[in-house]
Amino acid sequence: MSEEAGALHVRTVAELARGVREGEFTASELTEALLERIRGLNEDLNAFITVTAEQALAVATAADRARNSGSAPPLNGVPIVHKDLFCTSGVLTTCGSRMLANFVPPYDATVVQRLTNAGAVTLGKTNMDEFAMGSSNETSWFGPVANPWDTSRSPGGSSGGSAAAVAARLVPAATGTDTGGSIRQPAALTGTVGLKPTYGRVSRHGMVAFASSLDQAGVITRSAEDAAMLLGVIAGFDERDSTCLDRPVPDYVAGLRRPLKGLKIGIVRQHFDEGLDPQCASRIRAALDVLRDEGASLREVDLPNLALSVPTYYVVAPAECSSNMSRFDGVRFGYRADSPEDLLDLYCRSRGEGFGAEVRRRILTGTYVLSAGYYDAYYLKAQKVRQLINQDFRNAFGDVDVIAGPTAPTTAFALGEKTDDPITMYLNDIYTIGANLAGLPAISLPCGFAGKLPVGLHLVGPHFAEERILNVAHQYQLLTDWHRACPEGFA
């Protein structure tokens, strides 16, 4: 092992892929090393629901064989973990719910399949808020995840297990899903990079649905470069998802090199109002200064309807959720209540016992807003506001290339702090939800610390501008070291 690259667990995807390719170490050695780390450190974090050690070692052995025969795919031997709502053939896929605590899918999600085909080695499935409904990872049936920067705090959610695992250097990269900020907010709270692509850029096939028109698969990594590499693998048309667009996939890694000179960055004034923690605000401003110093220009943009994004989201998402959750009825798979008296009892108790409180709350909200007599006032109106928000972004992107701001209003909050107050919890996604409603690509990247806790910079681009936001994030990371900072105890 070469000294300057450091221990295996701190290296990036790009570095590990190179290491296996060049024979610096084998995929098996790498897999063993990270499995060992997971065994030692996961207990404090609860980032994993399932560790697939045996399968991982078998895949790693095959990766080594492929390498030796000279037919290695691009991510050959690189360890990865998947949020536990990506279906994995033959491996438990729980969605963080008692409802699916026994569910073993017979197929792989497209995202999983593409990463596997690219040579990645799956080490396990990560903890998450139940069915991706939550912003703190506390709604998981398998217990909360701890933030590696302070284990009394939440890593955010819903992709909290993925973010914690990457931040704690248990794995270089993880998949996640983002419906209202579920990749970006945990990335911000754990000092990692979280990329949510454009809606339709990555197939949703095999991703258990929460809110179908908002859900999008993405990745959590430690560098923008890694996010670019992985996006190149998972993006692209899939005939099994009608909402997945048939558009060419650019070379995202090649796009990283573009200089910042001439970049026009939009700033939304309301993002810096009193809702934002002052320490976080100063970190964001400092990050914007770094970009300006490299030749980017800043200008204010107006998103007049953005203030309506949280209420709009909490109509649209629960509506779709209420319908998507209907298939969990105790009849064909998943949790079934003991000795039901009749069909109604089977439904009521299976769902009542199988779903946690937050999922039940959203099903009820969604059922209400779709009901006869309320549909126009809630669902239809929310869809109209969604169009307006989309239009606001479209107008703004006439003037700027990206919109920058905070990812979350605060740094990581204490576990238990917000569990009794769903509204405050929902407001944690105030800066991220707009990108979901408008289907835009967005990324969160570490830009410093408030106290000992990381702060995330949020970049949003126009539809299919992943290349540009990755480029800006990468250029920022060439100038700063925040993404190399490692939580104490996990170095």
Partner: protein, 477 residues
Amino acid sequence: MSAWETVIGLEIHMQLATVSKIFSGAATAYGAEPNTQASLIDLGYPGVLPVLNAEAVRMACKFGLAVNASIASRSVFARKNYFYPDLPKGYQISQYELPIVSRGELLILDDDGREKRVGITRAHLEEDAGKSLHAGSDEFSRIDLNRAGTPLLEIVSDPDLRSPKEAVAYMRKIHTLVRYLGISDGNMQEGSFRCDANVSIRRRGQQTLGTRTELKNLNSFRFVEKAINFEIERQREVLEDGNTVVQETRLYDADLDETRAMRTKEEANDYRYFPDPDLLPVEIDEAFIRSVRDSLPELPDAKRQRFVAQYDIRQADAEILTMSRATADYFEAVAAGTDARLAANWVLGDLSAALNRDGLEIEQSRIPPEQLAGLLERIADKTISGKIAKDVFEGMWAGEGSASEIIEARGLRQITDSSAIEAVVDAVIAAHSGQVAEYRAGKDKLIGFFVGQVMKDTRGKANPAEVNRILKERLKG
């Protein structure tokens, strides 16, 4: 005339004849082992997504164009949410606000035989649910999801029908049409073609509609007529007793020939329809519509008119011959080789009877059309009589060979040689002097007796026209 007027609208649920399901690649074939034709999509597995079958869209367009409807340039799939064990996702994917077909029409014959226009409100695509089996003493209900995801076209008529007979005429016409178009097998036993009827009555002259009831799952033409008849009578009694009709769903019980209340409006589900976010709107352009229009076959009405004009056959015969495309094709193949009127008579007569007797469809006829034409040609060229032809037909049906082969083998060639017939006639006259005297005394009807005797002695082979001519000449005395 009754003081009451009946108002009926029909909703026909028709299975489209696609090879695979509307949102998955699983087969739609009927009769497979339970749950062997259900993919993960049909089972509503977590994570799987529907992908629309383009063929189902094409078939819906065919229907729309055939009933002169407008085809939506943009139609939307919606989720109809309700819980039932045979509905795997907890919602049915259907179309709600923006159906693919709207504002069509169909001409039927009303009870007085006059042509009448029936409006078609809309036709929309949707997926079928599975089947629940509640068998006898078994404490479990069983579910077969083979049917789940089968494409259906739901065709909704305007409330333009005024009698049970009109309702049946409309349903039959749709049935004929969709089989012509090749978009449904129309098989009612297998549930490929079933219907709900919305029925209300009102005082004649009244403008507003009466309260309607919905009769569910009528799966034969006979049941449609009987169920509506029962329901009209029931509603009339309710109203004449001074009560009001309750808006409700009723189920027709064929065994008892009655309808029974299933659920009232208040008990109806709130389906919470909303656009399905997993499917994009269906966008159809002019070029697609043109390509579908170009693929349409000749439709029943046009074919019937052509048959009357081209073959000079009766309206009524043309109507029956064009009821199915297969029958029409068969007829045309026969008519190509012989006299068309004779062909019509035989297809509608002996051939139909034989098919019915053996329970066969015309496609399965034991006598191909060219062979039937061969038989009819032997009648036309006087080789055999029509009566003998019936025997030859039976021989052909039994697989004894072509008409000519059977005629030769059995020696059935008609006797047209007048000297041979004259000899038999003379013998008959000599043997029946009594009857000859009566005939000559004016009892003309006895000619039939003499013809019968001659035919008997020639074993039916004498040319009947020739026999008549010679008999009349000799009997003149």
